[in-house]
Amino acid sequence: MMTKAAVSKVRPGSAPKAGSSAGAVAVSIDASGLETRELNDRLRELLLSGAKRVEISHVCGQRYIGTRLYTPERHLMEIDIRGTAGNDLAAFLSGHKITVEGNAQDGVGNTMDSGEVVVRGRAGDVLGFSMRGGEIYVRDGCGYRAALHMKDCEGKRPVLVVGGGAQDFLGEYMAGGVVIILDRDGESHESSFMGTGMHGGVIYLRGTARVDQVGAQVEISPADEADRELIEEYVSRYLDRFPEVDMTKDEIMASPFVRLTPRSKRPYSGLYAY
């Protein structure tokens, strides 16, 4: 069809391009002056020509990095971003591994399917929204509405680890997955409306949480042995990714943790006159 031909003329298609410069396994892109779409065109071309590792320098707000990297053949690569990643980093991400040497803006890991995102800095609002697989590690804090409507299903459980604190509405409508907020600064969590409408999954907070900080559907309980084992495993992974963090695993684990879980898998049953 005419339409198809014209489209593939300007967008990298699904077959590797002959004569592409990127035969090498590891390559770099200088993102200065590149529009979002141009940068993602380059990334896709590199993926299709077999690059396994790409370093992008001077990233300054370009969006959707990692989003256009799905292929039916499941080519995978590792991406190192230097600079500030723009909105929707790793949205719909399918298996790739992305590290940001810097901060990330809103929407990191939006509806992410699988893979790993590491942010050596801070992440903005709506972090891990509707994420349903893979892992996200944020060294410092994150903004509002993190982990909204995260979900899991058999054999696939997303994990979000945040080294700092989280703002209000953490885990709203949460339906699955694991969220660990390490609150490294040691200040108690001041966010409100945590877990409103929650009906699955679990949130672990280092420190404590008051009843007035969580939604009516949420139960607060101290983390038990099994919980602490799980937390410890992810704290180890967190520290592996951020060796610069000035706390040891034991120091982090020395604090109490609380667990936020939903009271019911069916928060709205009984609402209707059948």
Partner: protein, 504 residues
Amino acid sequence: MRSFVFPEFEIIRDEERCGSCRGCERQCALGTHAYDPVADRLVSDDRKCAGCQRCVIFCPQKAIVVRPSPSFYRPNASWSREKIEDLKRQAETGGVLLTGCGSDKPFRIYWDHILLNASQVTNPSIDPLREPMELRTFLGRKPEMLEISREGKEVEIKTELYPNLTVETPILFSAMSFGAISYNAFKSLATAACRSGTYFNTGEGGLPREMRGEFGRCAIVQVASGRFGIDAEYLNVAQAVEIKVGQGAKPGIGGHLPGEKVSAAVAETRMIPQGTDAISPAPHHDIYSIEDLSTLITALKEATNYEKPISVKIAAVHNFAAIASGIVRAGADIIAIDGLRGGTGAAPKAIRDNVGIPTELAISSLDRRLREEGIRNRSSIIAAGGFRSSSDVIKAIALGADAVYIGSAALIAMGCTLCQKCYTGNCNWGICTQNPRLSGRLNVEIASQRLSNLISAWSHEIREMLGGMGINALESLRGNRDHLRGVGLYEWELDVLGIKGAGE
């Protein structure tokens, strides 16, 4: 608590004809009919009857009649029987009234007040049996202009074209998710869409993996506020992606599939645990503005390599045309508007019957608004909500729609009788249920044939009506309000529709 509500229906059994075969007992999942071995006869409990007529159609002896129960309260123009009984149900349960299907309230149906034109003497009519008639429709953004280069006999389009959906007739199946409807009903829609050169819409319940290879080529997949069943493959096997913001039957509110309906297969397709409520929040929590919507539209274009049109579906509400203008500017290639009579598997009755505006008025104001702003080419319009016949469809096209979505009409083709009990999950017709005993009643081959027959019949009728107007391509009728006239409408209604009164 004893219920003070009348049975809705009355079951009349002709004992002479009844052979006590117990067929009705097996057909009714609501337990209306039961065999009394002592009396050797079937007895029916009117209270359990949903009025779906399954037992009536399947009774081999034609021994059953189900009709609205004739009991009445003292006649009262303000307190109708429905108002009294709804109130009683709420007094008995303290709950929100749920219902299914589109609104059944007597709002004006504008289709029935609009008449089509036909050619007489001049501009002769065309016989579609003899002449080619073009119904093929392209949905998606069109360029402002076409730059063409020509070298000798080689002609090339220089302008970058945008991805478009090609549909052979302007009728698509509206979003109905696997979970809301049964697997067999879902697969029947998919099968018929592929066979008839049109598309089905997955709704927000995902697309079962085993269907992706065969049916992706005629699928529009939805991304809704619950983000169920979405992975990169789901987005990429489809031909278009639709962001569902609103639905005509329940504008402004979310939805949830009750845990009872989340079977193992539904859970796997939605990618959630079995038995949990599948909750779709009222808004998308990553969309609080047109700019946010633009971000999601672009994210989906990125996720599909700019190869697929992105649609945004909204409910038609009071100021929606201004919002739609923003949606077009946000990058939507298609806008789907769902009007007042749009259907649903479950919605609060208060919302379904009181929120939104009629589809007919919505199509006209949206088309006009986008034309006035000079951006009509940037988005196609798919209208939804209450299309009952080919004449409704052709009138919608003349009012400015590019194509229509049919939901209830498609379900009726498969056997639905609009009993409005979809939310119980006990659909005796095997459509709106996850009970394998019930869904097994719907044969995919037969149901998809009925759907394809409907598409083919309506398409023929559209060709006939087009030919009668002296038009041989649907494209020439789009937004061509000169071919419409109103009867029995107020001035303001004619103005909103942009049509003249009959005889004018």
